[in-house]
Symmetry: C2
Subunit: 327 residues, 2 copies
Protein backbone atom coordinates (compact mmCIF):
# COMPACT_ATOMS: atom_id res chain seq x y z
CA UNK A 1 0.00 0.00 0.00
CA UNK A 2 2.71 2.48 0.98
CA UNK A 3 4.58 1.98 -2.31
CA UNK A 4 1.45 2.28 -4.43
CA UNK A 5 0.49 5.24 -2.32
CA UNK A 6 3.72 7.04 -3.28
CA UNK A 7 3.19 6.47 -6.98
CA UNK A 8 -0.50 7.28 -6.89
CA UNK A 9 -0.19 10.64 -5.22
CA UNK A 10 3.00 11.93 -6.87
CA UNK A 11 1.13 14.57 -8.88
CA UNK A 12 -0.24 16.16 -5.68
CA UNK A 13 2.93 15.65 -3.59
CA UNK A 14 3.73 19.40 -3.20
CA UNK A 15 0.16 20.14 -2.13
CA UNK A 16 0.16 17.22 0.31
CA UNK A 17 3.32 18.67 1.86
CA UNK A 18 1.48 21.97 2.40
CA UNK A 19 -1.39 20.05 3.98
CA UNK A 20 1.06 18.33 6.36
CA UNK A 21 2.41 21.71 7.37
CA UNK A 22 -1.08 23.03 8.00
CA UNK A 23 -2.08 19.96 10.00
CA UNK A 24 0.89 20.55 12.26
CA UNK A 25 0.08 24.25 12.62
CA UNK A 26 -3.37 23.05 13.66
CA UNK A 27 -2.06 21.54 16.89
CA UNK A 28 0.43 24.29 17.65
CA UNK A 29 -0.44 26.48 20.55
CA UNK A 30 -2.34 23.80 22.40
CA UNK A 31 -0.95 22.73 25.83
CA UNK A 32 2.49 21.30 24.95
CA UNK A 33 2.35 17.67 26.17
CA UNK A 34 -1.03 17.23 24.48
CA UNK A 35 0.27 18.88 21.33
CA UNK A 36 3.17 16.37 21.31
CA UNK A 37 0.64 13.55 21.56
CA UNK A 38 -1.33 15.01 18.68
CA UNK A 39 1.77 15.46 16.51
CA UNK A 40 2.61 11.83 17.13
CA UNK A 41 -0.96 10.86 16.16
CA UNK A 42 -0.71 12.95 12.98
CA UNK A 43 2.68 11.44 12.11
CA UNK A 44 1.71 7.85 12.78
CA UNK A 45 1.04 6.83 9.23
CA UNK A 46 -2.43 7.96 8.30
CA UNK A 47 -2.92 7.42 4.58
CA UNK A 48 -4.16 10.99 3.96
CA UNK A 49 -6.84 9.57 1.68
CA UNK A 50 -9.33 12.34 2.44
CA UNK A 51 -6.89 15.20 1.71
CA UNK A 52 -5.78 13.40 -1.47
CA UNK A 53 -9.41 13.12 -2.58
CA UNK A 54 -9.96 16.82 -1.99
CA UNK A 55 -6.78 17.76 -3.86
CA UNK A 56 -7.37 15.45 -6.84
CA UNK A 57 -11.04 16.54 -7.12
CA UNK A 58 -9.92 20.17 -7.13
CA UNK A 59 -8.17 19.65 -10.50
CA UNK A 60 -11.43 19.21 -12.41
CA UNK A 61 -12.56 22.83 -12.42
CA UNK A 62 -11.46 25.73 -14.60
CA UNK A 63 -10.63 28.05 -11.72
CA UNK A 64 -7.15 27.80 -10.32
CA UNK A 65 -8.45 29.97 -7.48
CA UNK A 66 -6.48 30.58 -4.32
CA UNK A 67 -4.66 27.27 -3.77
CA UNK A 68 -4.73 28.03 -0.03
CA UNK A 69 -8.48 27.30 -0.05
CA UNK A 70 -8.07 23.70 -1.20
CA UNK A 71 -5.16 23.16 1.21
CA UNK A 72 -7.42 24.46 4.02
CA UNK A 73 -10.19 22.07 2.92
CA UNK A 74 -7.77 19.13 2.86
CA UNK A 75 -6.53 20.04 6.35
CA UNK A 76 -10.14 20.39 7.53
CA UNK A 77 -11.21 16.91 6.43
CA UNK A 78 -8.08 15.23 7.84
CA UNK A 79 -8.36 17.13 11.14
CA UNK A 80 -12.01 16.15 11.44
CA UNK A 81 -11.05 12.53 10.77
CA UNK A 82 -8.35 12.77 13.47
CA UNK A 83 -10.81 14.31 15.95
CA UNK A 84 -13.18 11.39 15.48
CA UNK A 85 -10.28 8.93 16.01
CA UNK A 86 -9.42 10.58 19.35
CA UNK A 87 -13.00 10.28 20.65
CA UNK A 88 -13.45 6.80 19.12
CA UNK A 89 -10.37 5.48 20.88
CA UNK A 90 -11.67 6.90 24.16
CA UNK A 91 -15.07 5.27 23.63
CA UNK A 92 -13.65 1.91 22.54
CA UNK A 93 -10.99 1.91 25.24
CA UNK A 94 -8.45 1.33 22.43
CA UNK A 95 -4.88 1.58 23.70
CA UNK A 96 -3.03 1.28 20.40
CA UNK A 97 -3.68 2.80 16.97
CA UNK A 98 -1.33 2.54 14.00
CA UNK A 99 1.20 0.91 16.32
CA UNK A 100 1.30 3.91 18.69
CA UNK A 101 -0.32 4.43 22.08
CA UNK A 102 -3.64 6.24 21.75
CA UNK A 103 -4.17 9.62 23.39
CA UNK A 104 -6.71 7.99 25.70
CA UNK A 105 -4.17 5.36 26.79
CA UNK A 106 -1.85 8.10 28.07
CA UNK A 107 -4.32 10.73 29.25
CA UNK A 108 -7.39 10.59 31.43
CA UNK A 109 -10.91 11.13 30.10
CA UNK A 110 -10.98 14.90 30.56
CA UNK A 111 -7.98 15.90 28.42
CA UNK A 112 -8.88 13.31 25.80
CA UNK A 113 -12.43 14.66 25.44
CA UNK A 114 -11.12 18.23 25.26
CA UNK A 115 -8.31 17.36 22.84
CA UNK A 116 -10.89 15.83 20.50
CA UNK A 117 -13.12 18.89 20.90
CA UNK A 118 -10.17 21.13 20.09
CA UNK A 119 -9.53 19.18 16.89
CA UNK A 120 -13.22 19.48 15.92
CA UNK A 121 -12.91 23.23 16.45
CA UNK A 122 -9.71 23.37 14.38
CA UNK A 123 -11.39 21.42 11.61
CA UNK A 124 -14.31 23.88 11.57
CA UNK A 125 -11.87 26.75 11.52
CA UNK A 126 -9.92 25.26 8.57
CA UNK A 127 -13.24 24.72 6.75
CA UNK A 128 -14.11 28.39 7.30
CA UNK A 129 -10.76 29.34 5.73
CA UNK A 130 -12.10 28.10 2.38
CA UNK A 131 -14.28 31.22 2.42
CA UNK A 132 -17.03 29.14 0.88
CA UNK A 133 -20.47 28.91 2.44
CA UNK A 134 -21.13 25.85 0.32
CA UNK A 135 -18.06 24.05 1.65
CA UNK A 136 -18.77 25.01 5.24
CA UNK A 137 -22.37 23.83 4.90
CA UNK A 138 -21.39 20.50 3.36
CA UNK A 139 -18.66 20.07 5.96
CA UNK A 140 -20.91 20.76 8.95
CA UNK A 141 -23.51 18.34 7.56
CA UNK A 142 -20.87 15.65 7.24
CA UNK A 143 -19.84 16.31 10.83
CA UNK A 144 -23.44 15.81 11.98
CA UNK A 145 -23.79 12.68 9.87
CA UNK A 146 -20.61 11.23 11.39
CA UNK A 147 -21.73 11.91 14.99
CA UNK A 148 -25.16 10.49 14.26
CA UNK A 149 -23.53 7.37 12.76
CA UNK A 150 -21.33 6.92 15.83
CA UNK A 151 -24.40 7.11 18.06
CA UNK A 152 -26.26 4.57 15.93
CA UNK A 153 -23.25 2.26 16.09
CA UNK A 154 -23.08 2.62 19.86
CA UNK A 155 -26.76 1.98 20.50
CA UNK A 156 -26.88 -0.86 18.00
CA UNK A 157 -24.01 -2.70 19.70
CA UNK A 158 -24.39 -6.49 19.83
CA UNK A 159 -27.78 -6.28 18.11
CA UNK A 160 -27.83 -9.08 15.55
CA UNK A 161 -31.33 -8.13 14.41
CA UNK A 162 -30.47 -4.83 12.74
CA UNK A 163 -31.38 -4.98 9.07
CA UNK A 164 -28.84 -4.56 6.32
CA UNK A 165 -29.99 -1.00 5.58
CA UNK A 166 -28.89 -0.07 9.08
CA UNK A 167 -25.42 -1.32 8.23
CA UNK A 168 -25.22 0.67 4.99
CA UNK A 169 -26.48 3.82 6.70
CA UNK A 170 -23.93 3.33 9.48
CA UNK A 171 -20.91 2.95 7.17
CA UNK A 172 -22.13 5.79 4.99
CA UNK A 173 -22.32 7.96 8.11
CA UNK A 174 -19.05 7.04 9.67
CA UNK A 175 -16.87 6.81 6.56
CA UNK A 176 -18.41 7.44 3.16
CA UNK A 177 -19.93 10.82 4.09
CA UNK A 178 -16.49 12.36 4.72
CA UNK A 179 -15.01 10.79 1.57
CA UNK A 180 -17.97 12.25 -0.36
CA UNK A 181 -17.65 15.73 1.07
CA UNK A 182 -13.87 15.75 0.50
CA UNK A 183 -14.35 15.13 -3.21
CA UNK A 184 -17.47 17.30 -3.53
CA UNK A 185 -15.92 20.29 -1.79
CA UNK A 186 -12.61 19.98 -3.65
CA UNK A 187 -14.49 20.01 -6.95
CA UNK A 188 -16.77 22.88 -5.88
CA UNK A 189 -13.80 25.03 -4.82
CA UNK A 190 -12.24 24.55 -8.25
CA UNK A 191 -15.36 25.93 -9.92
CA UNK A 192 -16.18 22.62 -11.59
CA UNK A 193 -19.68 22.47 -13.07
CA UNK A 194 -22.46 20.89 -11.02
CA UNK A 195 -22.42 17.65 -13.01
CA UNK A 196 -18.71 17.21 -12.32
CA UNK A 197 -19.19 18.07 -8.62
CA UNK A 198 -21.97 15.48 -8.38
CA UNK A 199 -19.84 12.88 -10.19
CA UNK A 200 -16.91 13.39 -7.83
CA UNK A 201 -19.21 13.36 -4.80
CA UNK A 202 -20.67 10.03 -5.95
CA UNK A 203 -17.15 8.72 -6.58
CA UNK A 204 -16.19 9.70 -3.00
CA UNK A 205 -19.29 8.13 -1.54
CA UNK A 206 -18.87 4.81 -3.35
CA UNK A 207 -15.14 4.74 -2.66
CA UNK A 208 -15.89 5.31 1.03
CA UNK A 209 -18.43 2.45 1.07
CA UNK A 210 -15.93 0.15 -0.65
CA UNK A 211 -13.17 1.24 1.75
CA UNK A 212 -15.29 0.59 4.85
CA UNK A 213 -16.53 -2.80 3.68
CA UNK A 214 -12.91 -3.77 2.98
CA UNK A 215 -12.02 -2.46 6.45
CA UNK A 216 -14.77 -4.53 8.02
CA UNK A 217 -13.51 -7.55 6.09
CA UNK A 218 -9.90 -7.00 7.19
CA UNK A 219 -11.10 -7.09 10.77
CA UNK A 220 -11.85 -10.78 10.11
CA UNK A 221 -9.21 -11.88 7.62
CA UNK A 222 -6.40 -9.32 8.09
CA UNK A 223 -2.99 -9.93 9.63
CA UNK A 224 -2.91 -8.74 13.24
CA UNK A 225 0.57 -7.23 12.85
CA UNK A 226 -0.37 -5.28 9.75
CA UNK A 227 -3.71 -4.21 11.21
CA UNK A 228 -2.03 -3.11 14.44
CA UNK A 229 -4.97 -4.56 16.42
CA UNK A 230 -6.41 -8.02 17.17
CA UNK A 231 -8.65 -9.73 14.65
CA UNK A 232 -12.34 -9.47 15.55
CA UNK A 233 -11.97 -6.07 17.27
CA UNK A 234 -15.19 -4.74 15.79
CA UNK A 235 -17.31 -7.64 17.00
CA UNK A 236 -15.67 -7.50 20.43
CA UNK A 237 -16.97 -3.92 20.66
CA UNK A 238 -20.37 -5.07 19.49
CA UNK A 239 -20.11 -3.64 15.98
CA UNK A 240 -22.03 -5.89 13.61
CA UNK A 241 -20.42 -5.68 10.17
CA UNK A 242 -21.19 -7.06 6.72
CA UNK A 243 -19.37 -10.41 7.15
CA UNK A 244 -21.67 -11.15 10.11
CA UNK A 245 -24.77 -10.22 8.15
CA UNK A 246 -23.76 -12.48 5.28
CA UNK A 247 -22.73 -15.30 7.57
CA UNK A 248 -26.01 -15.26 9.51
CA UNK A 249 -28.04 -15.02 6.32
CA UNK A 250 -26.72 -18.46 5.36
CA UNK A 251 -27.06 -19.99 8.83
CA UNK A 252 -29.98 -20.87 10.97
CA UNK A 253 -28.31 -20.49 14.40
CA UNK A 254 -28.97 -16.76 14.72
CA UNK A 255 -30.77 -17.28 18.04
CA UNK A 256 -27.85 -19.24 19.45
CA UNK A 257 -25.32 -16.53 18.53
CA UNK A 258 -27.65 -13.82 19.78
CA UNK A 259 -27.88 -15.55 23.16
CA UNK A 260 -24.10 -15.97 23.25
CA UNK A 261 -23.42 -12.31 22.50
CA UNK A 262 -25.95 -11.08 25.04
CA UNK A 263 -23.89 -12.55 27.90
CA UNK A 264 -21.63 -10.46 30.13
CA UNK A 265 -18.13 -9.60 28.95
CA UNK A 266 -16.15 -12.61 30.18
CA UNK A 267 -18.52 -15.21 28.76
CA UNK A 268 -19.00 -13.23 25.59
CA UNK A 269 -15.31 -13.27 24.60
CA UNK A 270 -15.33 -16.99 23.87
CA UNK A 271 -18.47 -16.59 21.76
CA UNK A 272 -16.84 -13.75 19.82
CA UNK A 273 -13.74 -15.89 19.16
CA UNK A 274 -15.88 -18.76 17.94
CA UNK A 275 -18.01 -16.53 15.72
CA UNK A 276 -14.94 -14.85 14.21
CA UNK A 277 -13.45 -18.27 13.39
CA UNK A 278 -16.72 -19.43 11.80
CA UNK A 279 -17.06 -16.28 9.71
CA UNK A 280 -13.42 -16.42 8.54
CA UNK A 281 -13.96 -19.87 7.10
CA UNK A 282 -17.33 -19.13 5.53
CA UNK A 283 -18.46 -17.99 2.09
CA UNK A 284 -19.47 -14.68 3.73
CA UNK A 285 -15.89 -13.48 3.16
CA UNK A 286 -16.05 -13.87 -0.61
CA UNK A 287 -19.51 -12.29 -0.68
CA UNK A 288 -18.20 -9.23 1.17
CA UNK A 289 -15.17 -8.95 -1.07
CA UNK A 290 -17.48 -8.99 -4.07
CA UNK A 291 -19.52 -6.22 -2.54
CA UNK A 292 -16.46 -4.07 -1.83
CA UNK A 293 -15.49 -4.61 -5.47
CA UNK A 294 -18.98 -3.67 -6.64
CA UNK A 295 -18.77 -0.35 -4.76
CA UNK A 296 -15.30 0.27 -6.25
CA UNK A 297 -16.77 -0.36 -9.73
CA UNK A 298 -19.56 2.08 -8.91
CA UNK A 299 -16.97 4.68 -7.87
CA UNK A 300 -15.11 4.19 -11.15
CA UNK A 301 -18.33 4.40 -13.15
CA UNK A 302 -19.21 7.69 -11.50
CA UNK A 303 -16.12 9.23 -13.12
CA UNK A 304 -17.17 8.27 -16.66
CA UNK A 305 -18.52 11.72 -17.62
CA UNK A 306 -15.31 13.49 -16.51
CA UNK A 307 -12.49 14.43 -18.90
CA UNK A 308 -9.69 11.90 -19.19
CA UNK A 309 -7.02 13.82 -17.29
CA UNK A 310 -4.20 12.33 -15.23
CA UNK A 311 -6.10 13.04 -11.98
CA UNK A 312 -8.98 10.90 -13.19
CA UNK A 313 -6.61 8.01 -13.92
CA UNK A 314 -5.24 8.31 -10.40
CA UNK A 315 -8.72 8.20 -8.90
CA UNK A 316 -9.52 5.09 -10.95
CA UNK A 317 -6.32 3.41 -9.76
CA UNK A 318 -7.02 4.48 -6.18
CA UNK A 319 -10.30 2.56 -6.14
CA UNK A 320 -8.42 -0.58 -7.29
CA UNK A 321 -5.55 -0.06 -4.87
CA UNK A 322 -7.76 0.26 -1.82
CA UNK A 323 -9.29 -3.14 -2.57
CA UNK A 324 -5.86 -4.70 -2.27
CA UNK A 325 -4.73 -3.06 0.93
CA UNK A 326 -3.62 -5.06 3.93
CA UNK A 327 -4.33 -2.52 6.70
Amino acid sequence: MEQLHCDLFDIIRPDLALVEQKLHEGVDGIYAPLSDAMVSLLDSGGKRLRPALALLASRFGPRAGDPAYVIALAAAVETLHTATLVHDDLIDGARVRRGHQTLSATWSIAPTVLAGDYLFARAASFAAETQSVRVVTAFSRALMTICDGELRQLFGAFDLDQDLDTYYLRIFSKTASLFAVSAEAGAALSGADEAAVAALQEYGRSLGMSFQIEDDLLDFVGDERELGKPVGSDLRQGIITLPIYYFLRDHSERAQWRAGLSQTNADRNAVVDALVAEVRGSPAIAACRAEAQAFARRAEAALAPLPDIEEKRRLLTLAETLLQRRQ
Copy 2:
Protein backbone atom coordinates in the same frame (compact mmCIF):
# COMPACT_ATOMS: atom_id res chain seq x y z
CA MET B 1 -33.68 37.30 37.78
CA GLU B 2 -36.51 35.45 36.07
CA GLN B 3 -38.90 38.41 36.46
CA LEU B 4 -36.37 40.95 35.22
CA HIS B 5 -35.50 38.55 32.44
CA CYS B 6 -39.10 38.58 31.21
CA ASP B 7 -39.23 42.37 31.13
CA LEU B 8 -35.81 42.78 29.61
CA PHE B 9 -36.34 40.54 26.64
CA ASP B 10 -39.98 41.37 25.79
CA ILE B 11 -39.01 43.16 22.58
CA ILE B 12 -37.33 40.04 21.23
CA ARG B 13 -39.88 37.56 22.62
CA PRO B 14 -41.23 36.36 19.21
CA ASP B 15 -37.69 35.83 17.93
CA LEU B 16 -36.70 33.98 21.10
CA ALA B 17 -39.68 31.68 20.54
CA LEU B 18 -38.36 30.90 17.05
CA VAL B 19 -34.95 30.20 18.55
CA GLU B 20 -36.53 27.75 21.04
CA GLN B 21 -38.21 25.97 18.19
CA LYS B 22 -34.95 25.72 16.28
CA LEU B 23 -33.06 24.49 19.34
CA HIS B 24 -35.56 21.67 19.67
CA GLU B 25 -35.35 20.85 15.97
CA GLY B 26 -31.60 20.64 16.59
CA VAL B 27 -31.96 17.54 18.75
CA ASP B 28 -34.69 15.89 16.69
CA GLY B 29 -33.63 12.85 14.76
CA ILE B 30 -30.98 11.85 17.24
CA TYR B 31 -31.43 8.48 19.03
CA ALA B 32 -34.68 8.99 20.99
CA PRO B 33 -33.69 8.48 24.65
CA LEU B 34 -30.69 10.76 24.18
CA SER B 35 -32.86 13.30 22.40
CA ASP B 36 -35.23 13.26 25.41
CA ALA B 37 -32.25 13.94 27.69
CA MET B 38 -31.19 16.83 25.49
CA VAL B 39 -34.68 18.31 25.37
CA SER B 40 -34.74 18.18 29.14
CA LEU B 41 -31.34 19.91 29.23
CA LEU B 42 -32.57 22.59 26.81
CA ASP B 43 -35.74 23.11 28.83
CA SER B 44 -34.08 23.23 32.23
CA GLY B 45 -33.96 26.97 32.60
CA GLY B 46 -31.00 28.27 30.66
CA LYS B 47 -31.19 32.06 30.56
CA ARG B 48 -30.74 32.24 26.77
CA LEU B 49 -28.37 35.17 27.30
CA ARG B 50 -26.29 34.39 24.22
CA PRO B 51 -29.28 34.17 21.83
CA ALA B 52 -30.67 37.37 23.37
CA LEU B 53 -27.35 39.13 22.76
CA ALA B 54 -27.33 38.00 19.13
CA LEU B 55 -30.93 39.10 18.61
CA LEU B 56 -30.57 42.50 20.31
CA ALA B 57 -27.29 43.21 18.49
CA SER B 58 -28.99 42.40 15.17
CA ARG B 59 -31.24 45.45 15.58
CA PHE B 60 -28.42 47.96 15.07
CA GLY B 61 -27.95 47.53 11.32
CA PRO B 62 -29.94 48.93 8.42
CA ARG B 63 -30.56 45.61 6.74
CA ALA B 64 -33.60 43.69 7.82
CA GLY B 65 -32.15 40.77 5.85
CA ASP B 66 -33.53 37.27 6.15
CA PRO B 67 -34.60 37.02 9.81
CA ALA B 68 -33.90 33.28 9.59
CA TYR B 69 -30.17 34.05 9.54
CA VAL B 70 -30.19 35.73 12.95
CA ILE B 71 -32.39 32.97 14.39
CA ALA B 72 -29.88 30.42 13.07
CA LEU B 73 -27.03 32.38 14.68
CA ALA B 74 -28.86 32.53 18.01
CA ALA B 75 -29.51 28.78 17.86
CA ALA B 76 -25.85 28.20 16.96
CA VAL B 77 -24.45 30.05 19.99
CA GLU B 78 -26.89 28.43 22.43
CA THR B 79 -26.29 24.96 20.99
CA LEU B 80 -22.53 25.47 21.23
CA HIS B 81 -22.99 26.57 24.86
CA THR B 82 -25.08 23.46 25.54
CA ALA B 83 -22.46 21.21 23.90
CA THR B 84 -19.78 22.58 26.21
CA LEU B 85 -22.05 21.98 29.23
CA VAL B 86 -22.49 18.32 28.26
CA HIS B 87 -18.73 17.72 28.02
CA ASP B 88 -18.01 19.90 31.09
CA ASP B 89 -20.40 17.88 33.23
CA LEU B 90 -18.72 14.69 32.05
CA ILE B 91 -15.28 16.06 32.87
CA ASP B 92 -16.29 17.47 36.25
CA GLY B 93 -18.31 14.40 37.16
CA ALA B 94 -21.23 16.78 37.86
CA ARG B 95 -24.46 14.88 38.50
CA VAL B 96 -26.86 17.81 38.71
CA ARG B 97 -27.18 20.98 36.64
CA ARG B 98 -30.01 23.51 36.95
CA GLY B 99 -31.71 21.11 39.35
CA HIS B 100 -31.82 18.27 36.79
CA GLN B 101 -29.66 15.19 36.42
CA THR B 102 -26.85 15.76 33.95
CA LEU B 103 -26.58 13.67 30.80
CA SER B 104 -23.37 12.15 32.19
CA ALA B 105 -25.17 11.11 35.40
CA THR B 106 -27.63 9.00 33.38
CA TRP B 107 -25.45 7.83 30.49
CA SER B 108 -22.02 6.25 30.33
CA ILE B 109 -19.00 8.06 28.90
CA ALA B 110 -19.48 6.96 25.30
CA PRO B 111 -22.97 8.37 24.63
CA THR B 112 -22.18 11.52 26.61
CA VAL B 113 -19.07 12.23 24.54
CA LEU B 114 -20.97 11.56 21.31
CA ALA B 115 -24.03 13.58 22.38
CA GLY B 116 -21.74 16.56 23.04
CA ASP B 117 -20.04 16.02 19.68
CA TYR B 118 -23.43 15.90 17.98
CA LEU B 119 -24.36 19.23 19.56
CA PHE B 120 -21.04 20.75 18.39
CA ALA B 121 -21.87 19.54 14.89
CA ARG B 122 -25.40 20.96 15.11
CA ALA B 123 -24.00 24.28 16.28
CA ALA B 124 -21.61 24.39 13.31
CA SER B 125 -24.47 23.52 11.00
CA PHE B 126 -26.68 26.31 12.42
CA ALA B 127 -23.77 28.73 12.03
CA ALA B 128 -23.44 27.72 8.38
CA GLU B 129 -27.15 28.49 7.91
CA THR B 130 -26.33 32.19 8.38
CA GLN B 131 -24.74 31.96 4.90
CA SER B 132 -22.06 34.32 6.15
CA VAL B 133 -18.38 33.42 5.90
CA ARG B 134 -17.64 36.11 8.47
CA VAL B 135 -20.03 34.62 11.01
CA VAL B 136 -18.78 31.08 10.42
CA THR B 137 -15.19 32.24 10.80
CA ALA B 138 -15.86 34.14 14.02
CA PHE B 139 -17.89 31.23 15.34
CA SER B 140 -15.23 28.60 14.63
CA ARG B 141 -12.58 30.81 16.26
CA ALA B 142 -14.75 31.13 19.37
CA LEU B 143 -15.13 27.35 19.42
CA MET B 144 -11.34 26.96 19.35
CA THR B 145 -10.90 29.59 22.03
CA ILE B 146 -13.41 27.82 24.28
CA CYS B 147 -11.72 24.42 23.90
CA ASP B 148 -8.31 25.96 24.49
CA GLY B 149 -9.65 27.68 27.63
CA GLU B 150 -11.07 24.41 28.94
CA LEU B 151 -7.70 22.72 28.43
CA ARG B 152 -5.89 25.56 30.24
CA GLN B 153 -8.36 25.29 33.11
CA LEU B 154 -7.84 21.55 33.32
CA PHE B 155 -4.06 21.66 33.28
CA GLY B 156 -3.96 24.60 35.68
CA ALA B 157 -6.06 22.78 38.27
CA PHE B 158 -5.02 23.39 41.89
CA ASP B 159 -2.13 25.60 40.77
CA LEU B 160 -2.13 28.60 43.10
CA ASP B 161 0.85 30.13 41.33
CA GLN B 162 -0.89 31.02 38.08
CA ASP B 163 -0.70 34.75 37.50
CA LEU B 164 -3.78 36.91 37.24
CA ASP B 165 -3.44 37.21 33.44
CA THR B 166 -3.96 33.46 33.24
CA TYR B 167 -7.27 33.90 35.04
CA TYR B 168 -8.44 36.67 32.70
CA LEU B 169 -7.42 34.67 29.64
CA ARG B 170 -9.24 31.64 31.01
CA ILE B 171 -12.55 33.42 31.67
CA PHE B 172 -12.31 35.24 28.34
CA SER B 173 -11.86 31.88 26.64
CA LYS B 174 -14.55 29.96 28.43
CA THR B 175 -17.24 32.64 28.64
CA ALA B 176 -16.54 36.09 27.24
CA SER B 177 -15.46 34.87 23.79
CA LEU B 178 -18.91 33.40 23.08
CA PHE B 179 -20.71 36.47 24.45
CA ALA B 180 -18.48 38.60 22.19
CA VAL B 181 -19.11 36.54 19.07
CA SER B 182 -22.87 36.45 19.73
CA ALA B 183 -23.06 40.24 19.72
CA GLU B 184 -20.49 40.70 16.94
CA ALA B 185 -22.14 38.23 14.59
CA GLY B 186 -25.65 39.53 15.31
CA ALA B 187 -24.51 43.04 14.43
CA ALA B 188 -22.59 41.90 11.35
CA LEU B 189 -25.60 39.98 10.01
CA SER B 190 -27.71 43.12 10.31
CA GLY B 191 -25.27 45.03 8.11
CA ALA B 192 -24.25 47.38 10.93
CA ASP B 193 -21.13 49.43 10.14
CA GLU B 194 -17.77 48.19 11.41
CA ALA B 195 -17.66 50.67 14.29
CA ALA B 196 -21.02 49.45 15.56
CA VAL B 197 -19.98 45.80 15.14
CA ALA B 198 -16.79 46.49 17.12
CA ALA B 199 -18.77 48.34 19.83
CA LEU B 200 -21.20 45.45 20.25
CA GLN B 201 -18.38 42.90 20.23
CA GLU B 202 -16.62 44.85 23.00
CA TYR B 203 -19.92 45.08 24.90
CA GLY B 204 -20.30 41.30 24.65
CA ARG B 205 -16.74 40.67 25.74
CA SER B 206 -16.96 42.93 28.80
CA LEU B 207 -20.40 41.64 29.70
CA GLY B 208 -19.02 38.11 29.53
CA MET B 209 -16.09 38.99 31.78
CA SER B 210 -18.46 40.64 34.28
CA PHE B 211 -20.80 37.65 34.11
CA GLN B 212 -18.04 35.10 34.73
CA ILE B 213 -16.50 37.06 37.63
CA GLU B 214 -19.96 37.28 39.19
CA ASP B 215 -20.34 33.55 38.60
CA ASP B 216 -17.01 32.85 40.28
CA LEU B 217 -18.09 35.05 43.18
CA LEU B 218 -21.45 33.26 43.54
CA ASP B 219 -19.55 30.01 43.89
CA PHE B 220 -18.34 31.43 47.22
CA VAL B 221 -21.21 33.58 48.47
CA GLY B 222 -24.25 32.19 46.64
CA ASP B 223 -27.12 30.23 48.13
CA GLU B 224 -26.67 26.51 47.48
CA ARG B 225 -30.37 26.02 46.69
CA GLU B 226 -30.43 28.83 44.16
CA LEU B 227 -27.08 27.78 42.65
CA GLY B 228 -28.25 24.18 42.38
CA LYS B 229 -24.78 23.02 43.46
CA PRO B 230 -22.61 23.14 46.62
CA VAL B 231 -20.69 26.29 47.49
CA GLY B 232 -16.99 26.00 46.62
CA SER B 233 -17.59 23.68 43.66
CA ASP B 234 -15.01 25.43 41.50
CA LEU B 235 -12.22 25.13 44.04
CA ARG B 236 -13.14 21.51 44.73
CA GLN B 237 -12.46 20.86 41.02
CA GLY B 238 -9.21 22.78 41.29
CA ILE B 239 -10.42 25.89 39.44
CA ILE B 240 -8.65 28.90 40.91
CA THR B 241 -10.94 31.93 40.55
CA LEU B 242 -10.65 35.65 41.25
CA PRO B 243 -11.74 35.52 44.93
CA ILE B 244 -8.80 33.16 45.61
CA TYR B 245 -6.37 35.44 43.79
CA TYR B 246 -7.52 38.46 45.79
CA PHE B 247 -7.57 36.55 49.05
CA LEU B 248 -4.02 35.23 48.61
CA ARG B 249 -2.72 38.63 47.51
CA ASP B 250 -3.61 39.94 50.97
CA HIS B 251 -2.32 36.92 52.87
CA SER B 252 1.10 35.50 53.41
CA GLU B 253 0.10 31.85 53.89
CA ARG B 254 0.13 30.98 50.19
CA ALA B 255 2.65 28.16 50.80
CA GLN B 256 0.46 26.64 53.49
CA TRP B 257 -2.63 26.61 51.26
CA ARG B 258 -0.61 25.33 48.34
CA ALA B 259 0.61 22.40 50.44
CA GLY B 260 -2.94 21.73 51.65
CA LEU B 261 -4.39 21.69 48.13
CA SER B 262 -1.64 19.45 46.78
CA GLN B 263 -2.79 16.59 49.03
CA THR B 264 -4.86 13.68 47.78
CA ASN B 265 -8.62 14.04 47.49
CA ALA B 266 -9.77 13.05 50.97
CA ASP B 267 -7.34 15.31 52.81
CA ARG B 268 -7.88 18.11 50.34
CA ASN B 269 -11.62 18.42 50.97
CA ALA B 270 -11.11 19.79 54.49
CA VAL B 271 -8.59 22.31 53.15
CA VAL B 272 -11.04 23.41 50.47
CA ASP B 273 -13.80 23.88 53.07
CA ALA B 274 -11.48 25.95 55.27
CA LEU B 275 -10.27 28.06 52.35
CA VAL B 276 -13.82 28.71 51.11
CA ALA B 277 -14.83 29.84 54.62
CA GLU B 278 -11.81 32.15 54.86
CA VAL B 279 -12.43 33.68 51.44
CA ARG B 280 -16.17 34.22 52.16
CA GLY B 281 -15.34 36.31 55.19
CA SER B 282 -12.54 38.28 53.56
CA PRO B 283 -12.34 41.61 51.73
CA ALA B 284 -11.61 39.63 48.56
CA ILE B 285 -15.37 39.35 48.05
CA ALA B 286 -15.92 43.09 47.86
CA ALA B 287 -12.88 43.48 45.61
CA CYS B 288 -14.27 40.90 43.18
CA ARG B 289 -17.69 42.51 43.21
CA ALA B 290 -16.07 45.84 42.36
CA GLU B 291 -14.27 44.21 39.47
CA ALA B 292 -17.45 42.61 38.11
CA GLN B 293 -19.03 46.06 38.31
CA ALA B 294 -16.07 47.64 36.53
CA PHE B 295 -16.46 45.20 33.62
CA ALA B 296 -20.21 45.94 33.51
CA ARG B 297 -19.37 49.67 33.33
CA ARG B 298 -16.95 48.93 30.51
CA ALA B 299 -19.68 47.02 28.67
CA GLU B 300 -22.05 49.97 29.06
CA ALA B 301 -19.38 52.43 27.94
CA ALA B 302 -18.77 50.41 24.79
CA LEU B 303 -22.33 51.16 23.70
CA ALA B 304 -21.86 54.95 23.92
CA PRO B 305 -21.34 55.49 20.17
CA LEU B 306 -24.52 53.58 19.27
CA PRO B 307 -27.87 55.24 18.57
CA ASP B 308 -30.21 55.50 21.55
CA ILE B 309 -32.72 52.84 20.50
CA GLU B 310 -34.77 50.64 22.80
CA GLU B 311 -32.42 47.68 22.20
CA LYS B 312 -29.51 49.74 23.51
CA ARG B 313 -31.43 50.52 26.71
CA ARG B 314 -32.12 46.81 27.17
CA LEU B 315 -28.44 45.98 26.78
CA LEU B 316 -27.55 48.65 29.36
CA THR B 317 -30.11 47.25 31.80
CA LEU B 318 -28.90 43.70 31.11
CA ALA B 319 -25.40 44.58 32.31
CA GLU B 320 -26.89 45.90 35.58
CA THR B 321 -29.26 42.98 36.00
CA LEU B 322 -26.59 40.33 35.65
CA LEU B 323 -24.68 41.92 38.54
CA GLN B 324 -27.66 41.31 40.79
CA ARG B 325 -28.36 37.74 39.86
CA ARG B 326 -28.48 34.99 42.45
CA GLN B 327 -27.71 31.98 40.26
